[in-house]
């Protein structure tokens, strides 16, 4: 998805060489050339900062208000929740890694989960604040690792983020991709409860990248592996790391036979061309499990009536062409 490429804020300083060339031709005194150089450098830095900031904010808004993008992120979030396989009807506290402007977190709100989110882009977090998502937000570079106490979260999701860990930020050793990946996975592993799962959708540029990332995750102590949905469709193909802590056992049925103590089976990727809405599939499964677990004891995390009411409102809004129609956009 090309939109995700715009968050590094690299802008080539095109105009500089031209300005410098003409300066060198017209000015003869060395000192004025130097002075001009310094001025040009200062102006350039200012312009870059301004452009980056404007771009950051504008891009964050554009990313968030694009309906097609909202739908793609929402679908992948529902699929990630399905792969998380949380015990049905039990409240959970989740981590949204690279939560951005809250497109993924908003689904967690809707499904009644409490969550905390981290992201490195202030402009994205600002949009998340404006949109009044309910999770606690942190400005954090996931390549620097987490400080959460052991067992803090019942699960973690990450939607379209960790490909960014493959870029080296500077030449310092702590910013080499292997070091950042290792720091990320090790500290993520310890901040998750045992048993639980982390599901990370990302955009690899090659199979080697997938294997490399999965290798670091395994070294950090994770079980599980790679799940590829619609592997043969250029458009619908999606790569998920489905990582297990302590066997990854959830309470859900649906995927994995394991149960008990052993390692759960890795869920299968979706096949074929048909893209059933991930939301529909996720909620159908939840309904099934609720029905199975009925007996009044299990309550939804949020008041069920509230969820149903909200759904109805949503359905009303679906009348217009917005596809997902979730009130607040």
């Amino acid at each position: 998805m090309s939109l995700s490429l715009s968050f590094t804020g690299h802008h080539d300083p095109q105009p500089l060489p031209l300005t410098l060339h003409s300066a060198l031709f017209t000015l003869h005194s060395l000192s004025s050339v130097l002075a001009l150089l310094v001025c040009a450098a200062i102006v350039l830095v200012l312009v870059l900062v301004l452009v980056a900031r404007y771009y950051g904010d504008a891009e964050a808004k554009k990313y968030t208000s694009n309906t097609r993008n909202q739908q793609i992120q929402a679908d992948m979030t529902y699929r990630a929740l399905e792969l998380l396989n949380l015990p049905p009807g039990q409240p959970a506290f989740l981590l949204d890694i690279g939560c951005g402007s809250g497109l993924s977190g908003e689904i967690l709100d809707e499904e009644g989960y409490l969550w905390a989110g981290v992201d490195v882009a202030p402009s994205m977090l600002e949009v998340a604040l404006e949109r009044e998502v309910e999770g606690d937000l942190f400005l954090q570079d996931i390549g620097q690792g987490f400080g959460f106490r052991p067992g803090s979260f019942d699960g973690a999701i990450s939607i379209s983020v960790i490909q960014w860990l493959l870029n080296a930020e500077t030449s310092h050793p702590t910013s080499s991709p292997p070091h950042r990946l290792q720091r990320f996975f090790t500290t993520l592993h310890s901040s998750l409860r045992s048993p639980s799962r982390a599901v990370l959708q990302f955009y690899p540029s090659s199979d080697e990248q997938v294997q490399m990332i999965a290798g670091v995750a395994r070294k950090a102590g994770f079980g599980g592996g790679v799940v590829v949905d619609y592997p043969n469709s250029r458009r619908a193909r999606k790569v998920f790391l489905c990582l297990f802590v302590g066997g990854g056992g959830g309470g859900g049925s649906g995927s994995g036979q394991g149960g008990g103590k052993g390692e759960e089976e890795l869920p299968k990727g979706l096949e074929g061309e048909e893209e059933e809405s991930a939301r529909v599939r996720f909620e159908r499964r939840r309904e099934r499990e609720r029905a199975k677990a009925k007996g009044g004891k299990r309550k939804a995390v949020k008041d069920r009536d509230w969820i149903l009411k909200k759904k109805e409102e949503d359905e009303d809004e679906d009348e217009d062409e917005r596809g997902r129609g979730r009130g607040r956009w």
């Binding site: 409240p91 506290f93 606690d136 942190f138 954090q140 400080g147 106490r149 803090s152 702590t174």
Partner: protein, 123 residues
């Protein structure tokens, strides 16, 4: 929007800062109270994760004395309502958190703590 629910999970993650690095100490805070849906099941499920002393101390420091010093065995409604308020309704909007060990300061602005480390602080 940092609330005590996440503050209670958060330790310092600076390089080589592994002991006595919890809880981070709030300074110069501005608070905002916002109502949240009361969910007793969530609270009961979350109880085992709580570092109780840190929660009570921090709540008191922020002016809320509703929690008992010892985690009670009987979870009655009044206790759960107080716990709900402390964990989920007190938002720290401005201020900072200081690591008791290495003294790293994590500033909070607009409700968002800045957890970024300088290069020499990365583990």
């Amino acid at each position: 929007m940092v609330r005590l629910i996440t503050h209670n999970l958060l330790a310092c993650h600076a390089k080589d800062c592994n002991t006595n690095n919890f809880p981070l100490e709030f300074k110069d805070v501005q608070l905002e109270i916002r109502e949240a849906d009361f969910n007793p099941d969530f609270l009961k499920g979350f109880m085992p994760k709580i570092e109780w002393k840190a929660l009570v101390d921090t709540a008191r420091q922020l002016g809320d004395t509703s929690l008992p010093l010892e985690q009670p065995e009987m979870l009655d409604d009044e206790f759960l309502k107080n716990l709900h308020h402390v964990l989920l309704e007190i938002h720290v909007e401005e201020g900072s958190m200081t690591c008791p060990n290495c003294k790293h300061v994590y500033p909070i602005s607009n409700g968002i703590p800045n957890m970024l480390l300088a290069e020499h602080e990365i583990g």
